[in-house]
Assembly symmetry: C2
Homo-oligomer: 221 residues x 2
């Protein structure tokens, strides 16, 4: 992490030092809890406030917390079902360069499912010995990548909430949907492209993902 | 390219200066011509020696030839059906960073099909506005990557020769087969792993590729 990023984050951390979110009563009983990329202590506090454990807890985190709050991060990892990180974070968290080995180490820390995001190179989903690869859509130009990771998380969790299918197959579909929606995010600044999206836009984009990886092997006998 | 690589290649180039391969009579009438990564002048000479144009001409090249023999490379590109390059070579050849834009520029230079190899990040196949993405198999450890590109080319062309299906669908299958066979190459030094391969090994590896990218989207209505 460069020093500017660290300074910015440390400033945010100081501001957030007093941030003690209270889960509204109407949020109790939620099937899914999505913990955004905040300090592990805040993430733990939110889990503890849920009277009934959600059926699925999804965690986003980053290298910054690995560097300054690893003991808390280890605690929260034990409580979650799905972890979302990028490739460099997976390597840092596990101390392993190979993403397959990194995934094995990270799944030992708690999460059943691990999603490793590789930006323009797609994303990998791990579940025990099973692995699934979701490509990123090759696009002419990335106008602004800001928010693509959060958009992916939103699409991923939103889809899971609509299907309530938290199996490996369900996760695979959710990653494709998350990738499809994130691919719109980078086309314009901020949330501009997302706000104008129609259901048809999304369905067509998902169909592009299907065509991108669909093949039939006619094995020669 | 670093200077050591350049020195090595220039030494090879001097040695190869007198290399004037003669196509054996028994090779005339071949359906496919695979031009390995030699100087574009040698590649052109081989094409010219074929009395009947092969149904498919596949070309491998690299950044070195773009730097020292671009006029010859442009000539040979006009004569081929499929070009195999890696991502940095595609960018250098086209002057475009976006691989989608790079592909459009390169296809204007001659080849109908373009395969952009991205190493551990898989490969892209372009054909006009159609694109296909073949993942690389996530593996525990790359023991020795030497020869993976040539192994990919060999598996790709060998499969095409067995099917004689040179359509986009046929190319997609061939890329999966090439990727599967290349994934064995990196497991041991040199050709050691390839020499011990069985048909069953290959079929099982191809099945892993199928499972790696196979998904069904249950679209929410």
């Amino acid at each position: 992490m460069d020093m500017n990023t660290r300074d910015t984050l440390e400033t945010q951390l100081n501001v957030l030092g007093d941030f003690e979110p209270v889960v509204p009563a109407s949020y109790q009983g939620a099937d899914i809890l999505m913990l955004g990329n905040l300090s592990p202590a805040v993430q733990l506090s939110v889990i503890e406030q849920m009277k009934e454990r959600p059926k699925l807890i999804v965690l986003d985190t980053m290298n910054f917390w690995m560097e300054i709050a690893m003991p808390d991060l280890e605690k929260v990892l034990k409580e979650v079902d799905v972890l979302l990180v990028n490739d460099s974070e997976a390597r840092q968290l596990s101390g392993q360069y190979s993403l397959v080995r990194a995934a094995k180490e990270i799944m030992k820390m708690g999460p059943q499912y691990l999603v490793i995001k590789k930006g323009e190179h797609g994303a990998l989903l791990f579940d025990g010995d099973h692995v699934f690869f979701a490509p990123a859509l090759p696009i002419d130009e990335v106008f602004d990548p800001t928010g693509a990771g959060d958009t992916f998380a939103g699409g991923f969790v939103g889809y899971l909430d609509s299907t309530k299918d938290f199996s490996f197959e369900g996760m695979k579909s959710a990653i494709i949907i998350g990738s499809a929606i994130a691919s719109f995010c980078v086309e314009k600044f901020g949330t501009a492209r997302l706000r104008e999206l129609t259901r048809k836009d999304i369905d067509e984009r998902v169909q592009q993902f299907v065509e991108l990886v669909n093949f039939d092997i006619a094995l020669v006998k």
